[in-house]
Amino acid sequence: MALLLDFFTTAALLFIVSSGLMMIYGVMKIVNFAHGAIISVGGYAAFMVARLGIPGWYGWALAFAVGFAIGALVERLIVLPLYNRPLDAILATWGLGIVLIQIITMIFGRSTQLVESPMDGTFAIFGTAYSSYRLIMIPVALVLCAAVIGLLNGTRFGIKTKAVIMNEALAESIGINASRIRFIAFSLGAGLGTLAGYLITPLSSVDPYMGVAWLINAFMLVMVAGSSFVGLFVTCLVFGTLQVLVSIYVNPVIGGMAIAVLAAITLRIRPQGFSHV
């Protein structure tokens, strides 16, 4: 039972962490390498919120808003000029990640900080005691997934976004401002990134590089998922399960790189990944 819960909570965490990256990659076909640093920003937002004693719900909104604002700024200053040079955009966002991490380091110092979990203790489910905060990540991920899919499929913004993804020139020729859609998508993606950092913080400690550790896994999952959130959900479930299995039955260190390696192999065999599941 605990194993099953491990599968689901791992997948939930992976989904939370990679959804922001997915939002940006799906719309702009640009990989935001600053995502790791943005997750760290979220982590520090949680740290500040906890220290200032702001109630949790405002914290979520605050974390999202900070990320959204950073994303908006970055899109205009860094991503927009590099729109026709996708590989350079990867590099520039990586440079941005370094800058963000150094700024965090200058403000908060290098050392690891701890943030108390808003939900202590365990929760008994079918007779198994399980960390309640980890458990709560499952519904959080489901809600997040539903919200993002709802946004993309159910709203006017979503249909416009899909139109831009499919055929940018055509979208513009019927009056859709593609550049604005990209701007919003990037900002949303960054906001989801800080939100993810905020959410995962109680499970780990906070340090400037905390997000970078997640970056590679998130990146690989998004590559395999293609450009659909449903695909991402499935991918997270499959690779999260595999990671847990490898960690338990083989070796935790190898488990740590299971996602990267398996995703790379998946892409070699099936270049389109899981995008058509």
């Binding site: 006017r156 249909i159 416009k160 899909k162 139109a163 499919m166 055929n167 020139a169 055509l170 979208a171 513009e172 020729s173 019927i174 009056g175 859709i176 401002n177 593609a178 550049s179």
Partner: protein, 235 residues
């Protein structure tokens, strides 16, 4: 004096260093339909792309309804009550018919209302609003394109080789729809064509484009127009 629906003053443009259009001028009056004919590779599609803002102009000016739009971005031009049907990849094949149509509307909540006349002209779509556009046949896709233009209630419509590869019956249907639109709304139109019969039927004036220049023009309904145009398009 009333503004021209479209006025082009000496534009030159092309890809890279190659100039496809050389100092080209033309104007379309309110409610007028002008057809541009010419063989492949003479710059017809390039002209439309340039007018819609997809290609930078090296020289010259473009006015739509009297407004200077030479350096407007495509989506801004598209919001000027202008409907454009490109020759290739002009519909979202992964979206439904209804999504394709409503995306072009500034106020999508009016869809049911504005769809009524379009549904009359193309009854085939009434049943198929939730079908994916990519599953329509080639002719139906072209009709969808025309429907999308009409549902916008535009002041001017640009059509790029809408009849290409279509069966005569579909071409007739499209011509009827365009005639209806002109009769009931007085919409100006600029159509690029290779099909002489269709072009002369729907238009008031024709222009012949050759090597990026307009080499001849005339009244579409004049005696012998078809023969003259035919001479330019064949060998």
């Amino acid at each position: 004096m009333q503004q021209d629906a479209l006025k082009v003053e000496g534009i030159s443009c092309g890809y890279g260093r190659a100039m496809i259009l050389n100092s080209l001028s033309l104007e379309i009056k309110q409610s007028q339909c002008v057809a541009m004919l010419g063989k492949n590779g003479m710059g017809k599609s390039t002209l439309l792309k340039a007018l819609c803002g997809f290609l930078p102009k090296k020289q010259g000016e473009v006015y739509i309804e009297g407004k200077r739009v030479t350096h407007y971005k495509p989506h801004r031009i598209a919001r000027l009550n202008l409907a454009y049907a490109a020759q290739e990849q002009a519909i979202f094949t992964e979206l439904t018919v209804k999504e394709n149509l409503s995306l072009a509307l500034a106020h999508p909540d009016t869809f049911d209302q504005v769809f009524i006349p379009v549904g009359h002209l193309f009854p085939v779509f009434k049943e198929r609003l939730s079908q994916k556009a990519g599953t329509l046949s080639g002719g139906e896709q072209k009709m969808l394109l025309v429907a999308r233009c009409l549902i916008q209630r535009p002041d001017i419509i640009f059509l790029d080789e809408i009849t290409e590869g279509l069966q005569p019956s579909v071409i007739d249907r499209i011509a009827e729809a365009l005639d209806w639109e002109r009769r009931s709304h007085g919409t100006a139109m600029f159509i690029i064509e290779q099909n002489i019969g269709f072009a002369l039927r729907v238009s008031d004036r024709y222009l012949i484009l050759k090597q990026g220049r307009i080499v001849d023009s005339g009244d579409s309904k004049a005696e012998g127009a078809a023969k003259k145009v035919y001479g330019y398009l064949t060998v």
